[in-house]
Symmetry: C2
């Protein structure tokens, strides 16, 4: 693979944003931030065998996922994603065709979300494919929504349905950027996070940062069809997958009862986008209110990578 | 290694900057850019076996180098480095002790340059150690110095001495951030780049972006002691190493004769920091004026990683 011819190909095909003063091709890129108050920044690294498996997905999927993960992080702050830099370590002897497919995956989602790839680093080594995306965002005059703002009495809402993302959604999810922005502009959200590690694991991040606890309602968790399908393979109940599987990249938020009601009835969102799955309580940790009326503590379970 | 305990350790030890509104611990970091015009961004990925060799250096050296490379990119724009995010893929079964040493290397230089590590991603995989740094910078009211501004008649200046960096400098170089800023504030620099690929290779980037050529003076190239030492091992002449070796991370710039004279005589810099090594001409490519008076075309030679 010719590194310079590949970079030239990227430079020619990259769509440009107006606020990018300097794109690919210099020591740094430069972005006009003169009308901004805050610059958001997030970074995600993905490596073959841990976050994806090139024997089970295409390299285009990998490019797509790498960008989408970072967009989801900006969405979780209720802010606007703008530009990204992408570093890739290709396994030695990778072909330029392979590299171009990766970039086509990157653009397939970057273009859709109006994100310009303003720079990067292309290297190779005796290693599996490794890709790192750093994404910048802007506040657009809004306050970023942190993990640490959950308050006792808050309702807990999530978008979409959960569980079994390994059956496909972990590669093809749509980051909730639009929803995050609408939420931040039109409602008062106390805390927000995207579900990458798993519902209970990510809820636990919010609870720990906010020094509160939560009770979840067993019958309100939005279980995905994939979770049901997955449960037939694993022998575990679908609820287990909805609670524990990672990489759904849905949004989880806490907010007052009044605001929650407004969101659930709002015409700004597609009907059924949100589920109210529980509430924030004083004690630490997560409890579950089961259908039989009993309330028991549950352990936050992290995302178990692709080992299964 | 406990990922969360490690991140907690990082959060507690990280020095804070005033313009960082949100540091490590949320979906994104947030930086106050309300007084800035431009946000600079650069990213560098380093992998064991290609950019460093853990059999020949410490993991602390690796952390140091990863940050220093990115600072050098911001220096090459004549701007100020501010914050960074760091992604690390640790080989499976790495110890927390190993991880902490890497971070101590990162801080050893980040602290010195007042750079806050505002976020990152810690993963592991069946792969060699891989580290990615994305660095942000600010223009501080100055114009970033691009590669593309070289003009016919410009003098070509470099900082420091060149060649043989593999003998140690490639790990322990001091990025020329201060010099880059002084140059941008006090002089008119037409084009600038840092020498990472090698003198002729990086000069060639400037020439190609500026659509000009250059002639170098054989007797003016600042050959390092390391280049002389290296030549005894390789059998090549020291000049070869000064022209072709990479990773000296010195600055190369082009500017008018008058400005060059001012810099060479300026009390703002330590005496001997700069050498005038040639001039920009109309034709494309690089020529060398040899001591015997002959002028011959030379080929830009890229940096050959750690293969030697």
């Amino acid at each position: 693979m010719g590194e310079f011819s590949f970079i030239q190909w990227i430079r020619e095909r990259q769509r440009r944003r107006k606020d990018v003063i300097l794109g690919i091709g210099d020591d740094c890129a430069a972005i006009d931030v003169s009308s901004d108050r805050l610059c958001l920044i997030t970074t995600d690294m993905l490596v073959d065998g841990t976050h994806f498996d090139l024997e089970k997905c295409t390299v285009r999927d990998v490019g797509r996922k790498a960008i989408a993960c970072s967009i989801s992080d900006v969405a979780a702050m209720g802010c606007q994603a703008t530009v990204a830099v992408v570093s890739i370590c290709f396994p030695n002897h990778s072909t330029e065709r392979f590299a171009r497919k990766l970039y086509k995956g990157i653009w397939s989602i970057a273009d859709k979300y109006n994100i310009e790839i303003v720079g990067g680093d292309i290297i190779s080594g005796d290693c599996p494919l490794c890709i790192n995306v750093t994404m910048l965002g802007r506040d657009d005059g809004l306050k970023p929504i942190r993990r640490s703002g959950a308050r006792v009495g808050d309702m807990i809402l999530v978008t979409g349905t959960l569980g079994g993302s390994l059956l496909g959604k972990h590669l093809h999810f749509k980051p909730r950027l639009k929803e995050g922005l609408i939420l931040n502009k039109n409602f008062t959200i106390h805390a927000m996070i995207d579900i990458s590690d798993g519902l209970t694991a990510d809820l636990n991040h919010v609870l720990e940062e906010s020094h509160v606890g939560a009770v979840l309602y067993e019958d309100q968790i939005p279980i995905s069809e994939a979770a049901v399908k997955m449960s037939k393979e694993t022998g575990k109940i679908p609820l287990y997958h909805a609670l524990s599987d990672g990489e759904d990249y849905e949004l989880l938020m806490t907010l007052s009862k009044g605001q929650a009601k407004k969101i659930l009835e709002s015409p700004l969102f597609t009907k059924g986008t949100f589920s109210c799955i529980g509430e924030v309580i004083k004690n630490s940790g997560i409890q579950m209110k089961f259908l039989d009326g009993s309330v028991r503590r549950i352990k936050p379970r992290g995302y178990e990578h692709l080992k299964s």
